[in-house]
C-alpha cells in the first residue's frame, strides 16, 4: 500500500493496472494464480464474480506492481469489462490453444480494447494450456523458476530473430493443439501485440508474460498514467515528476497534525 514510505528501496516502484480478458475456461485465473502464488489447481472451479490480486515484478531499473483484475465468471454478460479496462495500462487477452473459438473471442477483445481502452495500453495475447500440446509436454518437466533466464517462447514485438521456436505442430497423436502458433503469432504481429504461449499448469512462460508486459509499459505512462504520450511536450506540469509525488496515502492519517487550525 505504501510505495511512498516503503523501506530501503532505491528502485522506483510503479503500479500498473492489468486486466485479464478472454473466454470462459481458458485459464485466466489459473495464469494469475501461477504468477502470484506459483500454484496451480486442477479442475479449478469457475471464478465466482471477479477477482483482484497484486504481484510485484522486479525489473533492473524499477519495480512494477501489477494490480490484476480478473473478469472471470461473468463473461456471459461482458459487463465487467468496461469498468475493468478503463485506465488499464496493460491487458492480457487469453485464449486456449486447444479451442479455436477462444482465439476468435480473443480477437474480439483485442478489437474492443483498441477501440475503447486507454491509448497506449500494452496488450499481450496469450495462448494458454500449452501442456495439452506436444510442445507443452516437452516443457512440462521443467520446474518453474522465477527469473528471467528462461527465454520466451515467442515474443511478437521484441526481435524477429527469435523466430518461432514451435513451427509445425499439427496432428501429432496426443496433441490437442487446434490453434497453430503461426496463426496466432502472425495475428499478434499485425496488431502489435506481445505474444506468448503458456501453461498455467506447468508454469511455462507465465512469468515471462508479465515480465515482458512490465518491460513494454512506456516510462512516460508510469509517470503520468493514461494521458501520457497523447498530447503535448513534456516540459509542463507533471512532466518531470514521479507519479507518487501527488499521491495521498489514506493510511497516513496523522494524528499529530490533525489539529492544525485549532486554538493554541
Amino acid at each position: 500500500m505504501s510505495e511512498a514510505t516503503s523501506t530501503n528501496t532505491p528502485k522506483p516502484s510503479s503500479s500498473v493496472k492489468l486486466v485479464l480478458l478472454g473466454e470462459a475456461a481458458v485459464g485466466k485465473s489459473s495464469l494469475v494464480l501461477r504468477f502470484v502464488n506459483n500454484d496451480f489447481q486442477e479442475n479449478k472451479e469457475p471464478t465466482i464474480g471477479a477477482a483482484f490480486l497484486t504481484q510485484k515484478c522486479s525489473l533492473p531499473t524499477r519495480t512494477i506492481k501489477f494490480e490484476i483484475w480478473d473478469t472471470a465468471g461473468q463473461e456471459r454478460f461482458a459487463s465487467l469489462a468496461p469498468m475493468y479496462y478503463r485506465n488499464a495500462q496493460a491487458a492480457l487477452v487469453v485464449y486456449d490453444v486447444t479451442k479455436p473459438s477462444s482465439l476468435t473471442k480473443a480477437k474480439h477483445w483485442v478489437a474492443e480494447l483498441q477501440r475503447q481502452a486507454s491509448p497506449g495500453i500494452v496488450i499481450a495475447l496469450v495462448g494458454n494450456k500449452l501442456d495439452l500440446t506436444n510442445d507443452g509436454n516437452e516443457a512440462s518437466g521443467e520446474p518453474q523458476v522465477d527469473g528471467e533466464q528462461q527465454p520466451p517462447a515467442a515474443t511478437a514485438d521484441e526481435d524477429d530473430a527469435a523466430g518461432e521456436p514451435q513451427e509445425e505442430q499439427d496432428a501429432t497423436p496426443g496433441d490437442a493443439r487446434k490453434v497453430s502458433t503461426r496463426e496466432a503469432s502472425s495475428y499478434a504481429d499485425e496488431e502489435g501485440l506481445l505474444f506468448f504461449e503458456t501453461s498455467a499448469k506447468t508454469g511455462v512462460n507465465v512469468v515471462e508474460v508479465f515480465t515482458a508486459i512490465a518491460n513494454a509499459i512506456p516510462e512516460s505512462s508510469l509517470k503520468s498514467g493514461r494521458g501520457a504520450g497523447a498530447g503535448t511536450g513534456q516540459t509542463t506540469l507533471g512532466g518531470g515528476r514521479p507519479a507518487e509525488d501527488s499521491r495521498v496515502n489514506l493510511g497516513d492519517r496523522s494524528t499529530a497534525t490533525a489539529k492544525e487550525g485549532c486554538a493554541c
Binding site: 493514461r226 506540469l237 512532466g239
Partner: protein, 506 residues
C-alpha cells in the same frame, strides 16, 4: 451461470451511480443474491466519467431522453480551429467533487478495504478573484486556509489578521469549550453580518472566508448557520492526511472511480452485473410457493426477473415521479495550459496538489447584483483526466441556463487571461444543467426512501454540493439496513476483512 430469470434475486439494484455503487459495496459480503443492472453502457450513472467521444454521446442522450437523466441542455462546444483531440486521452467526470479529509467517505473506503484500488490526490489552494486597483486586471489571491497561511500572508493587514485569527481561533475551539447555546442564536444571520458584527472581520475578507464554505449562494444569501460549520470543516481537515491540504480528489475521474470500485467489490463478492439493461417496468408477482413476495421486473434487454427488493433512483426506476430539484449550470472545459501556478505545494513535505479551487464571487461580475459565485474546480493532468500540458476545469454556478453558462464561460476566460501563458485557450467544453438537491436549499435534507411499495427503494436525488456530501453514506446505510432486515448489524456496515490474496503492507 444460470440465466437471470431463474435466479430468485434478493435485491436488484438499478443504476450504477455513486449511491447504488456504494450500496453494492455494502452488500458485497452479505451473501445476498444481488443483480446490478444499468440501462447505460457505462458505469457511474450521474457520476460517470467519459472520453470526449463518450461525452458527446452522453450529451445527445441527455437531450433525447431527459426522463432518464438528472441533467438537461447538454451541449458540446468546440472552438473553431481546435485541432482534433485524442478522445480517449480524456476522462472527464460528472463527479469532480472534492472530498474533505474529515468526510466519513474516507474511513468507509478504508474499512471496506477498497481504498487500495483508489488513488487519492490533494486539492491544494483556494484562489479567489480580486480585481487589482490599478488597471482592473485580474489577480488571483490565495485564500489562507490555515493559521499558518494567515501568518505567511503578505496582503492582509496586521489589523485584519488579528480579527481573522480571532475568528479562526473561535471556530477551531472544540464545542465543549464554548457556550454553544449562545453561539447558535448568533448564527441566524448572513455570514458577512456574522463576521462583521461578531469578529469585526473586514469586508474584504468575507468573500475569501465564504469560499472556504463552498457556498453556492451569494454572500447575502448564505447564512452563518450554513457557512460556519463548513469553514470549520475546511480548517479541521487540513493536515489530516499530510501537511498543507484538507481535501482530496480520486484520481481518474472522481466519483466515477469510486462507483466502479464499489461495483467491482460486489462483482468479486458474487453479484451479477448487466449493462445495457434498465428496468423497463415493474409488476407485482405473487409467488406460488409461499409467502415470499417478489416483484417482477422487465428489463430493457427483454429479460424478466424476480426480485424481493428493487433499489434505484428516480431516474433508474420506471414510473417514478420527478422529485422537486434545484438546478445548477455546470461545465467541463479542457484548456491548453497546465495552469501550473494554481498548484503550488502548499506546505513543506506536502504532496503536489492535483486540484485547485478558483472562486469568482458574484460581485466580480456585477457589483450591483446579488449573483451567486462561480466555482472552478481545476484538475491538473496528474489526475489522469487529460494529457499533460492541459487542465480540466469543472465550472459550477447556482444559476441554471444561459446566464449561468455565460458566467462560467467568463470566469474561465478570466482565469486563462490571468495565467502567465498568453496563448492558453479553451480546447473543448461540455455545458449542461444538473438537477439535484442544493446543499443550501430547503430540500437539502430530504431523507429516507420513497417508493410506490415496500419492495421498491428510491434514493433521493444527488447532492449538488461541490464537496462530497456525507448524507449519501447515511442513505446507503438506510438502504443496506432495509435489505439486511434483522441481520443488519451496524458494526458490519462497510466493515470488511481483506480478501484472500489482498496485498498487505509490503
Amino acid at each position: 451461470m444460470e440465466p437471470l430469470a431463474e435466479t430468485p434475486w434478493d435485491v436488484t439494484i438499478s443504476g450504477t451511480g455513486l449511491a447504488q455503487s456504494l450500496l453494492a459495496l455494502a452488500l458485497s459480503r452479505s451473501g445476498k443474491k444481488v443483480l446490478h443492472v444499468d440501462r447505460n453502457s457505462y458505469y457511474g450513472g450521474s457520476e460517470a466519467a467519459f472520453s470526449l467521444q463518450e461525452a458527446q454521446e452522453w450529451a445527445s442522450k441527455v437531450n433525447g431522453e431527459p426522463e432518464h437523466y438528472p441533467f438537461e441542455d447538454a451541449t458540446v462546444y468546440l472552438p473553431e480551429g481546435t485541432p482534433q483531440l485524442p478522445t480517449r486521452s480524456y476522462t472527464l467526470t460528472l463527479s469532480p467533487h472534492l472530498i474533505y479529509s474529515k468526510s466519513r467517505l474516507l474511513p468507509t473506503l478504508v474499512a471496506s478495504k477498497v481504498y487500495r484500488q483508489l488513488e487519492f490526490q490533494a486539492v491544494g489552494s483556494w484562489w479567489i478573484h480580486k480585481p487589482s486597483s490599478a488597471d482592473g486586471a485580474l489577480v488571483l489571491y490565495r485564500v489562507p486556509g490555515s493559521r499558518e497561511d494567515v501568518f505567511a500572508d503578505d496582503i492582509i493587514s496586521v489589523k485584519s489578521k488579528r480579527t481573522l485569527m480571532r475568528f479562526l481561533r473561535h471556530i477551531g475551539k472544540p464545542p465543549s469549550d464554548s457556550d454553544s447555546e449562545a453561539e447558535e442564536e448568533n448564527l441566524a444571520m448572513s455570514l458577512p453580518e456574522y463576521l462583521a458584527s461578531k469578529f469585526q472581520v473586514p469586508a474584504e475578507l468575507h468573500e475569501p472566508l465564504l469560499s472556504l464554505s463552498l457556498s453556492q449562494a451569494s454572500p447575502g444569501q448564505t447564512s452563518a448557520e450554513y457557512a460556519v460549520p463548513r469553514i470549520k470543516r475546511h480548517l479541521a481537515s487540513i493536515g489530516v492526511f499530510g501537511p498543507g491540504f484538507g481535501s482530496l480528489l480520486a484520481k481518474w475521474g472522481g466519483g466515477s472511480e469510486i462507483s466502479q470500485v464499489g461495483c467491482r467489490a460486489l462483482a468479486v463478492g458474487g453479484g451479477v452485473y448487466v449493462l445495457n439493461a434498465g428496468v423497463k417496468s415493474i409488476s407485482n408477482h405473487q409467488s406460488e410457493d409461499g409467502d415470499d413476495m417478489r416483484v417482477q421486473l422487465h428489463l430493457s434487454n427483454d429479460e424478466t426477473i424476480k426480485t424481493k427488493l428493487l433499489v434505484g433512483s428516480n431516474w433508474d426506476l420506471p414510473g417514478q415521479e420527478r422529485p422537486a430539484c434545484d438546478k445548477v449550470a455546470r461545465s467541463i472545459t479542457v484548456v491548453s495550459s497546465a495552469l501550473e501556478s494554481l498548484f503550488p505545494v502548499t506546505a513543506d513535505g506536502g504532496p503536489v496538489p492535483a486540484g485547485a479551487v478558483v472562486v469568482f464571487p458574484g460581485s466580480s461580475f456585477d457589483q450591483s447584483g446579488d449573483l451567486p459565485p462561480v466555482y472552478l474546480l481545476v484538475h491538473s493532468s496528474e489526475t489522469g483526466e487529460c494529457p499533460s500540458g492541459q487542465c480540466v476545469i469543472y465550472g459550477s454556478v447556482s444559476h441554471a441556463g444561459a446566464q449561468g453558462q455565460s458566467l462560467i464561460e467568463s470566469a474561465v476566460h478570466r482565469l486563462l487571461q490571468s495565467n502567465a501563458e498568453p496563448d492558453a485557450k479553451v480546447l473543448w467544453s461540455l455545458r449542461y444543467t444538473q438537477l439535484g438537491l442544493s446543499s443550501n436549499g430547503a430540500n437539502a435534507r430530504s431523507s429516507k426512501f420513497e417508493g410506490p411499495s415496500s419492495n421498491i427503494l428510491c434514493f433521493p436525488p444527488p447532492s449538488l454540493d461541490l464537496a462530497f456530501d456525507d448524507a449519501l453514506i447515511d442513505r446507503v446505510k438506510d438502504a443496506w439496513q432495509l435489505v439486511m432486515g434483522d441481520k443488519a448489524n451496524e458494526q458490519e456496515f462497510m466493515n470488511f476483512e481483506d480478501r484472500e490474496h489482498a496485498d498487505d503492507e509490503d
